[in-house]
Amino acid sequence: MSKFALAWYKIGICWLSVYAHFVQVSGLGAEIQTQFTFEIATPLAVRFDSSISFTTIGECPIQGSITTEHSQIVQALREDHAIDLQVQCVLDDKTASASRKRGLDSLSRTTCSLSIIIYGSGELFEDIGRFFQDSGLFLQDPRGCDRNVRYRNPHRLLCFAKVLRKSN
């Protein structure tokens, strides 16, 4: 990427930070109400500000909000200090491309999804599984982990042999 393009990229991100103050998460998906013309490299690292809002981690922070549908889950996760959360925001490609067609002056709603990777003590294995099951969410294989630790998914059947063979 040339310096010119990089400069415009940063400007675009800053535009996004200015205008994208409403990000709604629906079903761990997101809807960004913003205006930008540059494709954002995703996933974006995100931290929760509260149970209903979050901010991306980077030079130009983007703030977003979480729908009430999942705010209670986020609140419960944030209040439990025994677990560590790694949150990522991934923009939906179709929405992003549609937004890019619009001009800088028009606000657009861009959806994205929040991925939350849960880390914690192994003693919480059963509790974590029960909590998400009661919440109607099921833990998936993580992607984009920022640490390499043991992986114990309470919702995953023990068919790791196939996974390992496939990954190798």
Binding site: I117, R143, C145, V149, R150, Y151
Partner: protein, 177 residues
């Protein structure tokens, strides 16, 4: 034990054939007597044996032992000096003799010839199943507790920012929602 020696085939003379038959029959008679004594002793109906009972060897279990013992006896009988390989053989033979009485249908000492013509022994008692399949080992099963994130998440392998953690870390990844 019935003799299957055929005089015509092997050219044995009649006296020699009779001696062989007699020896075989007397050996069989000793085994039968020992077996009856052992059973009587085990059931409590007999008197204690004067000599330690030596169980009849299972021919299918120790086919490789007898030649070694015979060879050792042959060497010793001829006054040969016992060099290290033979000493090892002596140890193996002694071990076999010590454990012979404890042989049963399920276990026997491992005693295998080595490539140098001698014998090596293992004090590990090997089951018949293992002996029949010496290469048979339990199938390696994946321990779920040893599966790391990198085994399912290959996206960050080349990311230098990823924290390096080992399987000994207490933290566990429960997955992603």
């Amino acid at each position: 034990m019935q003799s299957h020696i055929e005089p015509e085939r092997f050219g044995f003379t009649e006296p020699k054939r009779r001696r062989l038959l007699s020896a075989a029959e007397s050996q069989e008679a000793r085994w039968v007597q020992q077996e009856s004594e052992r059973q009587a002793y085990e059931t409590g109906g007999g008197t204690k044996l004067h000599t330690p009972f030596q169980q009849r060897p299972y021919a299918e279990e120790i086919p490789q032992v007898e030649p070694g013992i015979n060879r050792l006896v042959r060497h010793l009988g001829q006054g040969d000096q016992i060099d290290p390989p033979h000493e090892e053989l002596l140890v193996a033979g002694q071990y076999w003799a010590d454990t012979r009485s404890s042989c049963n249908a399920n276990s026997f000492p491992s005693l295998l010839p080595d490539i140098s013509g001698g014998w090596h022994h293992s004090k590990k008692t090997t089951s018949l199943t293992e002996a029949a399949n010496p290469r048979l080992e339990p199938k390696a099963e994946l321990d779920p507790a040893e599966i790391l994130v990198r085994d399912v998440d290959r996206s960050h392998l080349n990311n230098p920012l990823v924290k390096k953690a080992s399987a000994n870390d207490e933290q566990v990844c429960f997955g992603m929602v």
